[in-house]
């Protein structure tokens, strides 16, 4: 006689079995239904997605455009004018322009070719990726080739690209990475030299002379072009004119500043007269920290930067300290135009007195006059803090600031954005004399990623890839990507041709949908405000063409590793953890030396020499400083 327990267990067993089988079947059915439902939903969504990819409504206009190329011969400016008739197809929502480019008489140049381009993830409207998405249909139309776009996140872009190249996978025909890995790409022999295609008339013509020296150095090596320049990245200083001007008009505040620092608060004049330095900015940051100048009820801050470790922190530090150590000069020799290494010994200059001085000031501003929350900020939060919340008087950011300022969804500062090139320094370290010199030193900065394409040697269709890259870089297209209607392509203006005609370029106010005369039709008719735009262009010109000196982008192999080293020690330790500056820089010096020795000091020396053009004349010659009286309030320049 089965015991009570056994009977119960048998019952359990039977019930379990019955329920289980039924349950199992029912479960399988339900899982199947779930899958089908998902599939149907996805299918419907996909259908809509397909129909949404149809071309937007367009309007066709024929517009004669005068393309002005400005060349500087000696001190004189010679203007060449070429008139082209351009047919513009202007959609009501999206700007798409088809320019007339010669195609072969037999038909499309790359009919049936398929290429793959890897770029920064961001979707059809995101930074950089939007350029590929935008030009994909145009590329197809003009050359018959198909473009597959692969999006990769920022940190993984260099890794996946290098993995692809070193393992021979060759999945990407061209890629648009951060220029940090330029050294690895060129020295490793992974990318094509472009000279032969640049001379070939089948390909779109872009103008190497219009590209600023420092930007060109991100694509050139040993005198040859390897990348097609697109983005002219730099870090610019911005301040909030709405509240700065208020303070400037307040006699009591101005007296307070003068009493505290011993000189007049005069930012516009300093900029105009090439006297804007970090020391003065530091005083201003201190002055604006701790009281409520933006009427939101809470004390505000002087500066805001994106100081999150593991992001692009090094790009804040580098242009900040450059004026403390870069000695401008006519030759690329041991003591001039150098930022990173002593060319004879490959000794990192990172703990030399100039950089120590600069870093100390940098850390001071970042810890005392910047809110602590900035340690968690990347770009988005920083822009939000500055443009939207307006809780910091200054910021030091890439040029996307002046494309964001006109967007009412992200900014409340439209019309009040001041932009200047990076401030210089009152003192700098003379490398030859080995002492600090008291002279104002203004150095242009190429900080930032300089996103632009490289053609992979593993590609089976390199010419199509080059064609695409070159097309975007032609003066006409480049101007449009830097001034597109939705304003955020991530390609920053820097070519001479990008600027307004008033400042030597080929862009007109009409391109920006602006009526002129400083009238602001507002968003969405115009993304930009004319004042903001002009100030931005002036700063762009001055940064690339008129500063005392330029330094070369850090682009030897291993640059990415060194970028991370600096970020870890200076942003991470000196700023976030309070490690003393000398110690942090010493750790940088040690780690950078290790990287150099790992690659081989002599090899690195040779690469460095090739990269900067050691021993050759400095191609950069400063031009006259650009200034436009109309863009700042005249009464706020105190002579």
């Amino acid at each position: 006689m089965p015991s009570e327990n056994e009977k119960m267990e048998n019952n359990l067993l039977n019930l379990n079995k019955r329920v289980s089988r039924r349950a199992a079947l029912s479960t399988a059915a339900k899982v199947g239904i779930t899958a089908v439902v998902c599939g149907v939903v996805a299918g419907v969504g996909g259908y809509f997605a397909g129909s949404a990819a149809a071309p937007p409504k367009t309007v066709t206009k024929t517009v004669p455009t005068t393309v002005t190329a400005t060349k500087t011969v000696g001190a004189a400016t010679v203007t060449e004018t070429v008139t082209k008739t351009v047919t513009k197809t202007v959609p009501t929502t999206v700007t798409a322009t088809v320019a007339t480019t010669p195609t072969t008489p037999t038909g499309k140049l790359f009919e049936g070719v398929k290429i793959t381009g890897a770029t920064l993830a961001g979707g059809p409207k995101g930074a950089i990726s939007s350029v590929l998405y935008h030009y994909r249909p145009i590329f197809k139309e003009l050359t018959g080739a198909d473009l597959d776009i692969v999006e990769l996140s920022f940190a993984d872009l260099p890794v996946k690209i290098l993995a692809d190249l070193t393992t021979g996978a060759g999945k990407y025909d061209f890629f648009v990475p951060c220029s940090n890995i330029m050294g690895d790409l060129v020295a490793g022999g992974y990318v094509w030299e472009l000279d032969k295609w640049m001379k070939d008339p089948r390909f779109p013509k872009w103008d190497p002379d219009s590209v600023p020296y420092a930007v060109a150095q991100c694509s050139r090596w040993g005198g040859h072009w390897y990348g097609v320049p697109w983005d002219s990245d730099a870090w610019y200083l911005n301040w909030n004119m709405r509240y700065m001007d208020k303070v400037l008009r307040d006699k009591d505040k101005r007296r307070e500043f003068k009493d505290k620092y011993g000189y007049e608060l005069n930012p516009y004049k300093w900029y105009r007269d090439r006297e804007l330095t970090w020391q003065k900015v530091r005083d201003m940051c201190e002055f604006f920290t701790g009281w409520d100048w933006n009427e939101d009820g809470e004390p505000d801050w002087g500066m805001i930067m994106g100081l999150r470790t593991g992001e692009q922190g090094t790009f804040w530090w580098e242009p900040f300290v450059a004026p403390f150590i870069v000695n401008p000069g006519p030759m690329m020799d041991r003591y001039h135009n150098i930022l990173y290494y002593d060319p004879e010994t490959m000794d990192p200059l990172v703990k030399s007195p100039g950089i120590v001085e600069g870093t100390k000031l940098f850390v001071e501003i970042c810890t005392k006059f910047t809110p602590k929350a900035a340690l968690t900020f990347t770009f988005a939060e920083t822009w939000d803090y500055f443009l939207n919340k307006q809780k910091a008087m200054f910021t030091f950011m890439p040029p996307d600031t002046f494309t964001l300022v006109g967007n009412p969804e992200k900014s409340r500062m439209r019309g009040y954005l001041m932009t200047t090139p990076p401030p210089g320094s009152e003192v700098y370290y003379d490398l030859k004399e080995k002492r600090m010199v008291e002279k104002i030193n203004l150095i242009g900065d190429p900080a930032g990623c300089h996103w632009h394409p490289w053609v992979s040697k593993l590609s089976k269709a390199p010419e199509a890839a080059y064609w695409f890259s070159a097309y975007v870089a032609t003066p006409e297209q480049h101007r449009l990507t830097t001034a597109s209607a939705y304003a955020w392509t991530g390609i920053d203006p820097g070519f001479l041709s990008d600027l307004l005609t008033d400042y030597g370029g080929t862009a007109t106010l009409a391109d920006y949908h602006l009526p002129g005369g400083f009238k602001d039709p507002g968003y969405p008719t115009a993304w930009y405000n004319e004042g903001d735009l002009r100030r931005a262009h002036i700063a762009v010109f001055n940064n690339w063409f008129a500063m005392d000196g330029q330094y070369n982008y850090h682009r030897i192999p291993g640059a990415t590793a060194i970028f991370t080293i600096i970020d870890t020690h200076i942003i991470g330790e000196a700023i976030a953890a309070g490690v003393p500056v000398e110690e942090a820089l010493y750790r940088c010096w040690k780690d950078i030396n290790k990287v150099i020795d790992d690659y081989g000091r002599d090899k690195m020396k040779k690469w460095y020499h090739d990269a900067i053009g050691y021993g050759k004349p400095n191609p950069y010659k400063p031009r006259p400083w650009l200034w436009d009286d109309r863009v700042v309030p005249k009464d706020l320049i105190f002579e």
Binding site: N16, C38, A121, A163, D400
Partner: protein
Amino acid sequence: MPRRTSILKTAAIYIGILIFVAFFFFPILWMIVTSIKLPRDMFSLGVLPFIQFEPTLKHWHSELVTVGAENRHALINSTIIGLSSATISTVLGILAGYALARYEFKKWKNIDIITWFLSLRFLPAISVAIPFYILVKTAGLLDTHIAVIILHSAFFLPYSVLVLRDAFKSLPREIEEAAMVDGASPSTILWRIAVPLIAPAIVAVFILLFSFSWNEFLFAFLLTSKVAVTMPVHIAGSVTTIGVLFYTLSVRQLLAIIPPVILALFIQRYIVSGLTLGAIKG
């Protein structure tokens, strides 16, 4: 048959559960709210639409229509890979779990074999990432579903082996021994008797394995680029150089959560069966 519980006790239970639910649900709630906020309000404090901020459906529209194809693609891939790898792992786990629960191995002690399985989890994914990349590339399986499925099913195998072993261990041996006396083979006993009895645990393990595969990032990221892209890789694409596009992220994340939650809703009730059956007995 409901237990007679005092009002106080019931209230305490409800309050406890509600606190936990709030803790776990709050970030999700925030994602939902963020997905309908304007970019300008991305960092604002409001929770109630219309009252504290102006809601917008444009992010959902963008994700479902403009990039709908990519989202759909990633979701389908994740589903295929998740279901397949979970199935493989569960079946393998049943086999190994039963063997380890019912048989004393001679060559190596059971506890050591179990430890070996556990040790599969010791490997940091980073260290095997590059060798796997090379292995998969050599096999010509880059950017295929099968590569990810095999890797996932192998790497999450320890979970199914250990949990199912525990479940088998908790079964009273008498039923199986009775069947053995009747002449049933171990295989029959396993699949006809033991497995149905631990159905709740199998369901739990399946959910677990599915969710681990669904959420796995590193291998999926390294080994796929377009065809077999999974949802986490796709989500990571909302981290751009201009900062995290939180509105994009929140919509994608919610899209990513929905299929597993539906799946869980359907099958998680079967974890309960043990309890209600005992109650029916009366």
